[in-house]
């Protein structure tokens, strides 16, 4: 497994321009949206906080995570399947789960790197806070990321080829961004929509992140929804996975 991790990381770094570009958007949005004066005023919708304090970085972390989960991961796996990389590997004694595990771990690191870049940029440019309940934040981030990456693997498994994987990924990504409140803040969503958001994994993910920003531990219900999502998606990913 160590060797797979090493080689796969090297392969990823050989495409460093592409991976940096994928993380550039969330970081640039932090800087760009941070220049809008209204977003820098204290907002009663967020309990008097400024939008840029926790809402903006949390959403940009989600954007980075969704990009990794629904663009990069399914793309790599579907390409490997299409080219027969997985088929080649299936003729050796190595257990397939090693490759899957290595890919998940690398994607997680990649998403974490994106999150760190967002937090750092927001702190540097906008003076946004760093999550006050830092361990809680890490817990929420890891749990939410694992759930989203598992969903990304489900997409990788159902995509017939490398071309359709990003298409399906994007089709899943945008509704999730909407449910997370990226365009319409959750606070002003109609009740039905907010309920949908509450069960969408990304809704609790955003809320729990904001809680940890404010210094609170994440709510159990938020953690429960994310855990359920992780269990469901990873079971599906394992069930649907195929080598060719």
């Amino acid at each position: 497994m160590k060797k797979i991790l090493l080689v796969e990381t090297r392969l990823l770094l050989r495409d460093w321009a592409a991976i940096l570009f994928a993380l550039l958007l969330p970081v640039l949005l932090v800087v760009g949206l941070g220049q809008i004066p209204d977003l820098r005023k204290s907002d009663p919708n967020f309990g008097g906080e400024r939008f840029v304090d926790a809402q903006l970085p949390a959403q940009m972390i989600l954007l980075a995570l969704l990009t990794v989960s629904f663009t990069m991961l399914p793309n790599v796996m579907a390409t490997y399947r299409e080219q027969g990389v997985l088929r080649r590997m299936s003729t050796t004694p190595v257990h397939p789960s090693r490759l899957l595990g290595a890919q998940l771990l690398i994607s997680l690191c990649y998403a974490a790197f994106g999150a760190a870049a967002v937090i750092f940029t927001a702190w540097l440019v906008l003076g946004s806070a760093i999550p006050a309940q830092f361990f809680g934040f890490v817990l929420v981030f890891l749990l939410g990321s694992a759930a989203m990456l598992a969903l990304g693997l489900v997409i990788a498994s159902i995509a017939p080829n490398a071309k359709t994987a990003p298409t399906i990924g994007t089709a899943v990504m945008f509704p999730l961004m909407f449910l997370a409140g990226m365009w319409v803040p959750r606070e002003v969503m109609p009740d039905a929509l907010r309920t949908a958001s509450d069960y969408s994994v990304v809704g609790p993910f955003i809320n729990a992140m904001r809680d940890t920003w404010a210094g609170d531990w994440p709510e159990l219900s938020h953690l429960a929804v994310m855990t359920a999502g992780l269990a469901l998606f990873s079971a599906l990913a394992v069930k649907l996975f195929r080598w060719e």
């Binding site: 060797k3 797979i4 080689v7 990389v85 088929r87 590997m89 299936s90 003729t91 050796t92 004694p93």
Partner: protein, 301 residues
């Protein structure tokens, strides 16, 4: 000793029968060819042997191992080079071997293996940047990195230029000489004739014949034919008196002699004794290609 035994193998996809009652044995230390046109069921057969597909019926044993039930054990004795399998383009040649070596409990020394297949200088080249012949060599090295007793090489030389093809053939012979049993899947008659100790001729999912290349040619008559322009008139009776000669005909100024065994040598010696020189000498032998056409009743690829 047989290292592979296949008995009454059947496999169908949806409404199409791919492999229909195929049986054969592969002996230790030989290059065994599975020869047939595209779509004849060759690849499906070796995929079943390699445990990549589950047969509908039939018994397969590879070094005594059941490929379906004992996949892990099979992976350790069988190295597979697949037709439709590649590596990531940006992976380096050395990395690929190092990685695949790490999948096996007791791998070969991959650096030495790299030298053996003639890719020592390409260690730091990316897989996407090397030539087709080099990629096939790498593929063979990957199949050998687990120190298998048996290796399956599927359509190894398809798409290679003649020189690369010859180099690859040499490599396959080296592999056999190092003690690894080779199962070679191919649709090139020339390749099979050159490399295989024995082979199974397969057509539309069925085995037509299993034999040595010479044996297969023998089955369809195995005749030889030579034609030449004699420097002086030669009597048919002189030639017909030779045990190797079965017939003599004339074609314009040319003499056409048919026969068996060392026909050309016998006839040339007899003519030399009469101080006659056979000009424009052509010797034609029945090839595996002819045998294939005769045995299946259709043209080969």
């Amino acid at each position: 000793m047989n290292v592979i035994e296949v008995e009454n193998l059947h496999k169908r996809y949806k409404d199409q029968v791919a492999v229909d009652d195929v049986s054969f044995e592969v002996r230790a230390g030989e290059i065994f060819g599975i020869l047939g046109p595209n779509g004849s069921g060759k690849t499906t057969t070796v995929e079943c042997v390699s445990g990549l597909r589950i047969p509908d019926r039939g018994v397969i044993r590879v070094a005594g191992i059941d490929p379906v039930r004992e996949r892990d054990a099979l992976r350790r004795v069988l190295g597979v080079q697949l037709q439709s399998a590649t590596l990531p383009e940006k992976m380096k040649v050395g990395e690929a071997l190092d990685l695949y070596a790490s999948f096996y409990p007791e791998p070969a020394d991959w650096r030495e293996l790299l030298e053996r297949v003639g890719l020592g200088a390409k260690r730091d080249s990316m897989v996407g940047k090397i030539s087709g012949g080099q990629r096939q060599r790498l593929s063979v090295a990957l199949a050998l990195v687990g120190k298998p007793r048996i290796t399956v090489l599927d359509e190894l030389t398809t798409g290679l230029d003649p020189q690369a093809r010859r180099d690859t053939w040499e490599l396959v012979e080296q592999v056999r000489d190092s003690g690894v049993t080779v199962v070679l899947v191919t649709h090139f008659m020339e390749e099979a004739q050159r490399l295989c100790d024995r082979m199974a001729l397969i057509d539309t999912g069925r085995i037509v014949a299993t034999d040595t290349p010479a044996g297969l040619i023998e089955r369809v008559g195995g005749g030889k034919r030579m034609r030449f322009r004699p420097s002086a008139p030669v009597d048919d009776a002189v030639l017909l008196a030779l045990p190797e000669v079965t017939g003599v005909t004339r074609d314009g100024g040319q003499v056409v002699v048919t026969g068996t065994g060392d026909l050309a040598v016998a006839v040339t010696l007899a003519l030399t004794g009469l101080k006659i020189v056979p000009g424009d000498l052509h010797v034609e032998e029945t090839t595996l290609d002819d045998a294939f056409v005769a045995l299946t009743g259709r043209k080969s690829a």
